[in-house]
């Protein structure tokens, strides 16, 4: 099944320019690995990058740089495509970070009844946060606006809100002022990969989720 909900065009452009924060770029890449339509969109945006590069004024390159480059060709081995990681239900971009190969290996931490989370560690300079979220079958998430930028990719199961049904591969790349109340379908837990801005000015995702349960 090809995804029905896609990356926002502004996310596609920023991904192509290479300026997305790491947390968001992992989620975008995970979606891209499942979505030929968005891969085509990124390629179009990269074509803009190509034209921009083509139109740049020429910097002066030293003779030494040219000579070193040409001398280095002797040692340069031909590039080989990396061996594809074993097939997994988890997107490659996530497997590389977590070093696990299946949903069963995720180290969940219970946050509230029906809500479990797993932080995905990013390099220190990453500005955003990345986490896996598991919501139990049949459970409604608290209604929440996005107090900052947020992008969510469904990896397993499905939820629905006023935007429609979000199943595996679908991404919710929403403006921060959109309020929604996702409800997980019956029968299967829903696992999502969520990138958020670091909770400084905003309540953390955890706090927002736990709000109705623990009354904070």
């Amino acid at each position: 099944m090809k995804p029905a909900h896609h990356l926002d065009d502004s996310t596609v452009l920023s991904f192509a320019a290479g300026t997305l924060d790491d947390a968001f770029s992992v989620v975008a890449e995970a979606h891209l690995s499942m979505c030929p339509a968005c891969r085509a969109a990124v390629r179009e945006a990269e074509a803009l990058g190509g034209e921009v590069l083509d139109a740049l004024e020429e910097g002066s390159v030293s003779d030494a740089c040219r000579a070193k480059t040409i001398a280095a060709l002797d040692q340069a081995t031909l590039y080989r495509l990396p061996v594809a990681p074993p097939r997994s239900d988890l997107p490659p971009a996530l497997v590389r970070l977590l070093d696990i190969s299946s949903f069963e290996d995720i180290a969940w931490k219970k946050k509230a009844p029906g809500v479990a989370m797993c932080d995905v560690k990013l390099p220190a300079y990453a500005k955003g946060k990345l986490k896996l979220l598991r919501i139990s079958a049949g459970r409604a998430m608290p209604e929440h606006g996005h107090g900052g930028e947020e992008i969510t990719l469904v990896l397993k199961g499905a939820y629905h809100d006023h935007m429609g049904v979000f199943a595996r591969g679908d991404v919710a790349d929403l403006d921060e002022d959109i309020e929604h109340q996702p409800v997980v379908g019956p029968g299967e837990d829903c696992i999502c990969l969520v990138a958020t801005e670091k909770p400084t000015r905003f309540k953390s995702l955890a706090a927002r989720l736990m709000q109705p349960f623990v009354g904070i």
């Binding site: 090809k2 926002d8 065009d9 502004s10 596609v12 452009l13 920023s14 192509a16 320019a17 290479g18 300026t19 997305l20 924060d21 790491d22 891209l32 690995s33 030929p36 339509a37 891969r39 085509a40 990124v42 390629r43 179009e44 945006a45 990269e46 074509a47 803009l48 990058g49 190509g50 034209e51 921009v52 590069l53 083509d54 139109a55 740049l56 020429e58 910097g59 002066s60 390159v61 030293s62 740089c65 040219r66 070193k68 480059t69 040409i70 280095a72 060709l73 340069a76 081995t77 031909l78 590039y79 495509l81 990396p82 594809a84 490659p92 590389r96 970070l97 390099p123 930028e149 403006d175």
Partner: protein, 199 residues
């Protein structure tokens, strides 16, 4: 205001077609026979532009030349992987340079930039994608870039050249983040429309 382009505005750019055909030919010589002369011609065209591309955000001339060298060597090593149907040679060089710039900044082995092509399956390539390289050669993407309003082009240049995230662009231009996003969407939508008129 979006400049509406009618068909008559869209001249096929013969010069661009010739240049791309030349680059493709050089790439083939590098890939098939490790032709150093072809590589040198390639270097003399791209290295100066790559130097400008790398000289951003406190990058010293020395590091910029290091990155130029790495990018050009990557071109040599990867020449055989270039697929004309998925974009022009210039775009391919851009993605190599962009990935190097990110990897040098991130310096993290767990997060190397992945080539989009590794996710492609032969069966699911949409028709339009096959034509992208061709359309770019015809100068359509360059025309899209030229015909958008300045405020949209500025946001693209800050992204692609200055390496600025959306939030930094918003700060620099003193406009809301939502405005940065909407300018990006408009610019991209304009490109889409131009590409679609020639599908």
């Amino acid at each position: 205001m979006l400049a509406a382009m009618d068909q008559s505005d869209m001249q096929i750019d013969r010069e661009k077609q010739k240049q791309e055909a030349h680059f493709r030919n050089l790439m083939k010589r590098v890939a098939q026979s490790h032709d150093r002369q072809a590589f040198a011609v390639f270097f003399d065209h791209f290295a100066p532009r790559l130097k400008s591309f790398m000289m951003r955000k406190n990058v010293s001339a020395e590091l910029a030349e290091d990155l130029v060298q790495d990018a050009m060597i990557a071109v040599w090593r990867k020449a055989g992987l270039y697929e004309p149907s998925k974009g022009s040679v210039t775009t391919w060089v851009f993605t190599i340079a962009r990935n190097l710039r990110i990897d040098r900044i991130r310096r993290d082995v767990h997060m190397p930039m992945t080539e989009l092509g590794t996710y492609d399956e032969p069966s699911d390539a949409p028709e339009g994608e096959e034509l992208l390289g061709r359309k770019q050669e015809d100068g359509l993407v360059a025309q899209a870039l030229k015909s958008i309003p300045d405020e949209q082009r500025q946001v693209l240049l800050l992204s692609f050249v200055e390496d600025m995230p959306q939030s930094e662009i918003a700060q620099k231009l003193a406009i809301p983040l939502g405005t940065v996003k909407s300018r990006m969407r408009l610019a991209y939508g304009h490109l889409r429309r131009i590409l679609e008129t020639r599908s």
